[in-house]
Symmetry: C2
Subunit: 441 residues, 2 copies
């Protein structure tokens, strides 16, 4: 294992030239931002953050994160607005644009490097006002605690996560952030330590020191905030994939774990894939992704109530939003059994019989004394069901934030016909076996 | 209600001529049996039993039941053998044959009347040795307790049960015996009393005096044996039908309740009817019916385990035995989801993955942390599944009493093709709405 890890470490550590280059861009940008903020009384500090500051960046991911500290007395509105002005002014020559996390921030491409100008409140530990406020503490902690050796280990871990598609905290992915990788190495000292510990981890294990009780399969506390569970942003599925990957790697270490694998896609399952798509008015990715995921979840439940078996579902947000539902079958039997009350319950059993006698196929008494009936479904096909449901339940069952979008229109279809390449690739995940399992062959 | 009941009572009470005729046949047969048993030291008594003795017989059901009492010291073997000889000798001129209840007895048709010669042990109340031992006590009790008026009420109740297909205690029907009808009238004084009480009955009600705790939806104790629940021989379904009929009749009394109704059959449901048939070596009806019902129940469970939805099932015994299974669909989706362990459980999750990777369609981790897979069914059609199951599981899953019969052969098919008229009619029950419900229209 050591040999493989060393080889990977060499691969993923940026060359001297790249390091100089990154440092140069960072210094240049820092100067710019400092110049722009000079004399602004509400700005307390400008500092380099992120993996570049902590020395844990991968060759190919040289993001420059510049953090601009604000006095805690500044209102959220002025905080956002001032930060935006600072960002645009600083990155003026590089076609800057706005991106969204909890708060908007400004980004630009400077040569091949992505540069972000991110505001935070310069507050005491624990008195957080915005989610970026912890970042300077993270930077300080890692600069102080990670040895050069450990920085290399963080890089190896990031490469491992990345190759297996579970690197990145964005809501679209719900994977492991760079900071989580650093925290894991800080806890377990090395990549191998992380692998061995995660391979043997049990349910409800807490990594780090917790200052409260957390729900969750695995808890990873933030070293600068024991009230925060870093694993909460990681999906259960990705936690599981990571644990399985660690087990497989511990059992049979190989350089293959650091190479992207093409997933094995069962194309013919596309026949049973229900697709709902809708356009939406511009909003922050976190918002629309959250909404799309929620509605995918709630429509899954509706499909189940309608008699369909939903094997997997997912949301994907691009130009439009797409919801994918892999069904056991797109067509289900026309007739289904609907149980009623026990025959002893006079009022309700008469109501049940009366109701069922109208569009009745069959009514009988079961061995457990319940009256039961055979009814005809209105929509034994998934497309018909979903169209009917969405047309009639926008008000009651669509999250209010999406109602206007659905009123404006939506599409329901079965299979991959008419979908663009990137959309199909997003849905392919549902009909592919997780890479984590391929190592068990 | 009174007017309708009176009219029915007139209809179902045998005419003077019929009564004389019945009495004459009974006396004649009693004489015969007495002659044959005269001088047999083990025989203690010969008496008329059944509805004729109690004066509760319906015009069309003039059975003559002659009970032959044996000393309790007689062994079961001699009891059966002697009774058989007595029966055959007594009914000599009328082509007698053997029938089976708990013990064999001899029956013959004398003119248009069915005559049974049934042995019992002449024991004290409560010291029962065979199930027929209570009969003389029943006869004595009813002769003593039922007034002429009440006998008429019993006849009306029997006619009500009969018209609605729930009269008869035989295992094929699991309905209400004549004795249960008498006991109900004894408890509630009149047909109307029975109807009103049964219409409002609650779960776990006990009718009569119980000497122990019984399980069951409704308990009807035997007045001559408080340890016996007469309702145990009645199916839950028939209890329910009776209660519903009583409610409907109480709400809208009508002579229609005393007329047989043609059930409304949903013929097209035959398409989803799985039929298993097999021949069997001669045995008593109670035995083969019990076996057929048990195997129908156990094969229903197997079908469910195989992914099929069994709506209703039933057994029918004629020349051959037939098992009917009304399915939601005879064909189910080829792929199905099979859940495995949580990813935390190292050993079992690796076993699950390994097993599923071979004939794998898809493996993934669910949001609850369980590993799950998509598998292909070997038998997505019910006929294929059942043939496969029966061929491979006779030893392990067929009741031992039927294994030889199944080894000799069985047939599995879908739909009504190739079935005789009486077989089809038996199965029609599964795709018909209970008559009890038709009164709610």
């Amino acid at each position: 294992m050591r040999r493989i890890i060393s080889a990977v470490a060499r691969d993923v550590t940026p060359s001297k030239a790249a390091q100089d280059m990154g440092r140069k861009t960072a210094d240049e940008m820092l100067d710019m931002v400092r110049k722009v903020t000079a004399g602004l009384p509400q700005v307390t500090d400008v500092q380099l953050g992120g993996s570049l500051a902590k020395g844990t960046w991968l060759s190919e991911d040289a993001d420059v994160d510049i953090f601009v500290g604000f006095k805690r007395s500044v209102s959220k509105e002025r905080f956002e607005e001032t930060a935006r002005q600072i960002g645009f002014e600083s990155l003026n020559g590089y076609s800057p644009y706005v991106k969204y996390s909890e708060h908007p921030y400004v980004e630009a491409r400077v040569r091949k490097t992505r540069v972000n100008v991110v505001p935070y409140y310069d507050v005491k530990q624990g008195e957080w006002k915005s989610s970026a406020d912890r970042s300077p503490y993270h930077t300080r902690l890692m600069k102080k605690s990670l040895t050069t050796k450990m920085r290399g280990e963080v890089r190896v871990l990031k490469a491992f996560l990345k190759a297996n598609g579970i690197y990145g905290a964005e809501i679209a992915r719900q994977g492991f952030s760079g900071y989580v990788a650093e925290v894991l190495v800080l806890n377990f000292k090395s990549f191998e330590g992380v692998v061995r510990n995660m391979a043997g981890i049990g349910r409800n294990t807490t990594i780090g020191r917790a200052e409260k009780k957390f729900d969750g399969m695995i808890i990873i506390t933030d070293p600068v905030d024991g009230k925060r569970n870093l694993a909460a942003a990681i999906s259960e599925r990705n936690l599981g994939r990571f644990v399985l990957l660690c087990r497989a790697f511990a059992a049979r270490p190989s350089a293959d774990f650091f190479k992207k694998r093409r997933p094995r896609v069962s194309k013919r399952l596309w026949d049973d894939m229900l697709v709902v798509s809708f356009g939406f008015r511009e909003r922050s990715p976190d918002i629309i992704w959250g909404q799309a995921k929620r509605i995918a979840f709630s429509l899954s439940r509706q499909l189940e109530l309608g008699g369909f078996v939903v094997l997997r579902s997912k949301a994907h947000v691009g130009e439009k939003a797409h919801l994918f539902f892999l069904l056991e079958s797109g067509c289900i039997p026309l007739l289904y059994q609907k149980d009623g009350p026990e025959f002893f319950r006079q009022g309700s059993s008469e109501k049940f019989i009366g109701k069922n006698r109208r569009d009745l196929k069959l009514v009988w008494i079961k061995d457990d004394g319940r009256i039961t009936s055979l009814r005809e479904r209105r929509h034994p096909d998934a497309v018909g069901f979903m169209k009917w449901f969405l047309k009639n339940n926008i008000q009651s069952d669509i999250p209010s934030g999406l109602q206007d979008d659905f009123v404006r229109g939506f599409k329901v279809s079965m299979g991959s016909g008419g979908l663009g390449k990137s959309i199909k690739e997003a849905a392919d995940e549902l009909i592919s076996t997780d890479g984590a399992f391929l190592h068990f062959d």
